[in-house]
């Protein structure tokens, strides 16, 4: 098992480093494009870690067999926040390039942006980012620490402690994800606002995290201890959860679309006007089909959810669709208000590989540190029984 994880880590690292070198070269040629592609890649992979953190905490609150057998995968993913913090650093130098509100001369000439300046300014932006990372690292640290101590010393008092942390932890998660999504993505177009935006990201992160977990479960499923612990029944449960998150994502996205379309207000409708012309309409349709209709139809049947190869395919495809969704939300470059045509750059694909490779390497490194199943969790026996 360890050899398998090491192998995967190495491959991820090589792919990530290779793509990063390419992107580094690209950054010299076209820094604006680099920052944009890199931001999208970062939001995608940081979102996988965030989704894992949230699902881990959700499971601490609700219990259930599904979460115990994947607990260690979620913990390993949520221990990557020190690395995502490092991955965030390049963006610190990109604020000028990415965000039009960071240009004082633009803000000075625009009444709406002047009004928002107490929130949208570089100092506060960076301070908020520091706060988000502090919260995420803190939550992941304690979750992981107490989970380890539970392994070493027995269930109490850690089981209780984990629950006590997870309730407020989920609150903090909701708060930080909302504002980080506003900061990093929504403010690319500083004139646009939508109250559901943060929830849209939470739904998407749930899809990302479950897609990752299902992928890893299938890839490592031929090896002990997962081989005997995770049965098709567990896989079925995970598939159902993924199915639920896909529907949530579609529900949130459709709500935003219908309400915006129906009201047709000048400050909101440009969001969709820009994204339904100049080639962007194909991305919109691809999202509808690929992020909802197709996986929905496939995951509807029990057969798919229990078929390892098929469910792996769906999960990998959804990880890719997450990238497409964030690409869509980031939208046409914010510089210049007029409609811009879709312009796919090679870095839009290279950057996710770079960030993803490095992130996955960190994830596998963390995964190797602990046994893949918790030893003293009071519910573990039942969870394994559930699958038999």
């Amino acid at each position: 098992m360890l050899a398998r994880i090491d192998g995967l880590r190495q491959r991820a690292l090589i792919a990530g480093a290779g793509a990063l070198v390419l992107c580094g070269l690209g950054a010299f040629v076209n820094p604006d494009q680099f920052f944009r592609s890199y931001l999208i890649a970062f939001v995608l992979w940081n979102g996988v870690a965030l989704g894992s953190l949230a699902i881990k905490m959700l499971h601490q609150m609700t219990g259930g067999a599904w979460g115990l057998v994947i607990g260690r995968l979620l913990e390993a993913a949520s221990r990557t926040f020190p690395y995502t913090l490092l991955l965030f650093l390049p963006l610190v130098f990109g604020t000028k390039s990415l965000y039009i509100w960071s240009h004082p001369e633009v803000v000075g000439a625009d009444q709406a942006l002047r009004d928002k300046a107490p929130y949208l300014n570089t100092t506060f932006f960076l301070a908020r980012a520091a706060f988000y990372f502090a919260v995420w690292n803190g939550l992941a640290y304690f979750l992981s620490k107490w989970s380890r101590e539970q392994d070493e010393g027995g269930a109490e008092p850690y089981h209780t402690r984990l629950q006590v942390l997870s309730g407020p932890g989920l609150l903090l998660y909701g708060f930080t994800v909302t504002f980080s999504s506003i900061d990093w993505v929504m403010s690319l177009d500083p004139h646009y606002s939508s109250t559901i935006y943060g929830i849209l990201f939470m739904g998407g992160q749930g899809v990302s995290a479950l897609a990752l977990v299902i992928t890893i479960v299938v890839v490592l499923g031929d090896h002990e201890p997962l081989k005997s612990a995770i049965t098709s029944r567990h896989l079925h449960d995970l598939g159902k959860l993924l199915f639920a998150f896909i529907m949530l994502w579609a529900y949130f996205s459709f709500s935003q679309y219908l309400i915006t379309w129906s009201a047709n207000l000048p400050e909101e409708i440009p969001f969709y006007l820009k994204r339904t012309q100049g080639g962007w309409q194909f991305i919109a349709v691809a999202l509808l089909v690929g992020h909802f209709v197709l996986p929905f139809a496939l995951l509807l049947s029990r057969g798919t959810k229990q078929n390892r190869r098929l469910v792996l395919g769906v999960a990998l495809f959804l990880l890719f669709m997450r990238l497409v969704d964030i690409y869509f939300l980031a939208g046409p470059s914010g510089h210049g208000e007029g409609p811009a045509a879709l312009h796919l750059h090679w870095m839009d694909l290279a950057a996710p590989v770079a960030v993803g490779g490095l992130w996955l390497a960190a994830f596998f490194w963390q995964l190797k540190q602990r046994p893949l199943l918790p030893a003293h969790d009071p519910m573990l026996e039942e969870a394994l029984e559930h699958g038999r």
């Binding site: 109250t195 529900y251 129906s262 400050e267 039942e382």
Partner: protein, 466 residues
């Protein structure tokens, strides 16, 4: 979370949790006796008659109001320019929201295999039906000529080529709510059939045997019957699950698709659904706590049930609070002066008292539920559930009235308050709701007998054989 109470034999945590769902010492026979005796042998007490009389009196007040409104016209209500939507829609949304907990308990918790739903699902489903009935009265009555409501509301082919406006969520409401009522009624009735057969077999009075026998539809409890029953309830649960979300989503669209500050917000669908479940669970608790005391059902509706409901109330309450926060933040962030004014008007305008009362009821009060000790204090939970019911009513009041009474044009501003007929209709529907509930408790088993038997420890062996 729970301290170990019994350390006689080591139970796993899951077994402990399940053991807390039913009081100790029960067998299949005692469960059946206990629940069916409430309907069949228990004497109708003076207390019951007294409470029923009050509820029935209020229901009579409702019928008087309805007659008055039909005779005099909808001018009896307090709505006028600029506030054209008042108590009718406030109370419609309030009642519809309350119904959602019943559907969530019966459908979603069934699919999630949550055993604690068992003792509360029956009366929660009944609550849903009665709440939907109360809710439906408002849109029907507000048409002024309710006998023509079907003609106006339902699309049907006609020579004039006249159709309802299909782009309006108000017409989607007609479909959503009627579907919801149908599926809820079916679900409730199908779930009752095995218990009706039990009552048929146990009733001694001739008429009761006949009536329960008719309603039991020939249930004999054969393996084939059970097989079909299980399939039907899973299918109905699958059908009802989207309804938990869709009904209140469409109710939220009634507001959100408009261009009015305070109504037009993309967060409305999930935030309304969460609010509906929040108020619904509060109502389940408001009903469950007196019921378990009066009928001695503490063994079936245990502290574990109340705690679980308290947790759901806390979680959904926090989502609702998140909605308030995002509304306020985005109103500021949008930079739109009308949006900003809307929030300031809520905070400081003529309805500020209601807004702050709503924040106190919906955001601050439920925070006590973080603490396990307080979650086990039944009296406190009861008070909390009442506070949440009030808070959710205030929420709809604030959303509807504050956005309408001051619109874009200061010359058209005005104030609104419900007329005495508005109030008598509102209080009257509470009377109708309680009347139906009293009748339900008196004539039907308020807890599912056969499902309770399946969560007894004795039933555990059979479960594993599956």
């Amino acid at each position: 979370m729970e301290p170990d109470q019994t350390q006689i034999e080591p139970l796993t945590l899951g077994e402990q949790r399940r053991a807390e769902l039913v009081g100790p010492g029960h067998s299949f026979a005692t469960v059946t006796d206990k629940i069916s005796s409430i309907v069949l042998t228990r004497k109708t007490t003076l207390g019951f008659l007294g409470a029923f009389t009050v509820a029935f009196g209020l229901a009579m007040m409702l019928f008087y109001t309805l007659a008055y409104v039909v005779v005099v016209g909808v001018g009896a209500f307090g709505v006028n320019v600029p506030v054209g939507w008042g108590f009718d829609i406030i109370n419609f949304v309030w009642w519809i929201g309350i119904g959602h907990a019943g559907t969530l308990i019966s459908a979603i918790l069934l699919l999630l295999r949550q055993q604690w739903r068992t003792s509360i699902n029956r009366f929660a489903e009944a609550m849903t039906l009665f709440a939907v009935a109360c809710a439906a009265l408002y849109p029907i009555m507000h048409t002024g000529r309710p006998w023509l409501a079907i003609y106006w509301l339902f699309p049907y082919p006609n020579t004039m080529g006249l159709w309802p406006q299909f782009r309006s969520p108000l017409i989607w409401d007609v479909f959503a709510v009627s579907t919801y009522a149908t599926v809820s009624a079916l679900f409730w009735f199908v779930g009752l059939i095995p218990d009706l057969a039990t009552l048929r077999d146990r009733a001694t009075a001739r008429f009761a045997r006949f009536a329960y026998g008719m309603l039991a539809m020939g249930w004999r409890g054969s393996a084939m019957h059970w097989h079909r029953y299980e399939t039907a309830s899973l299918l109905l649960a699958g059908l009802a699950t989207p309804l938990v979300v869709s009904v209140h989503t469409i109710v939220s669209f009634d507001f959100a698709v408009s261009v009015l500050p305070g109504w037009h917000a993309t967060i409305f669908p999930p935030y309304f659904v969460a609010g509906a479940i929040y108020s619904g669970f509060a109502m389940v608790m408001t009903l469950a706590i007196p019921l378990r005391v009066v009928y001695g059902l503490e063994d079936f509706i245990t502290l574990r049930h109340l705690q679980n409901m308290a947790k759901i109330i806390l979680a959904t309450g926090l989502i609702v609070a998140y909605g308030y926060m995002m509304e306020a933040f985005t109103a500021w962030y949008s930079g739109n002066e009308y949006e900003r004014f809307m929030i300031l008007n809520r905070l400081k305008g003529p309805y500020a008292v209601m807004y702050w009362a709503l924040i106190a009821c919906n955001v601050i009060a439920p925070q006590i539920l973080w603490f396990g000790k307080l979650r086990r204090n039944v009296a406190l939970l009861f008070a909390m559930s009442l506070v949440v019911n009030v808070g959710m009513w205030l929420e709809r009041y604030v959303i509807i009235v504050t956005s309408l009474h001051r619109d874009f044009l200061p010359s058209s501003w005005g104030l609104y308050s419900g007329s005495k007929w508005d109030w008598s209709m509102y209080i009257g529907t509470i009377g109708l709701f309680l009347t139906l509930l009293f009748l339900f408790i008196r004539f039907l088993p308020m807890i599912s007998i056969f499902e309770m038997r399946t969560i007894l420890p004795q039933a555990e062996v059979k479960e594993e054989g599956q």
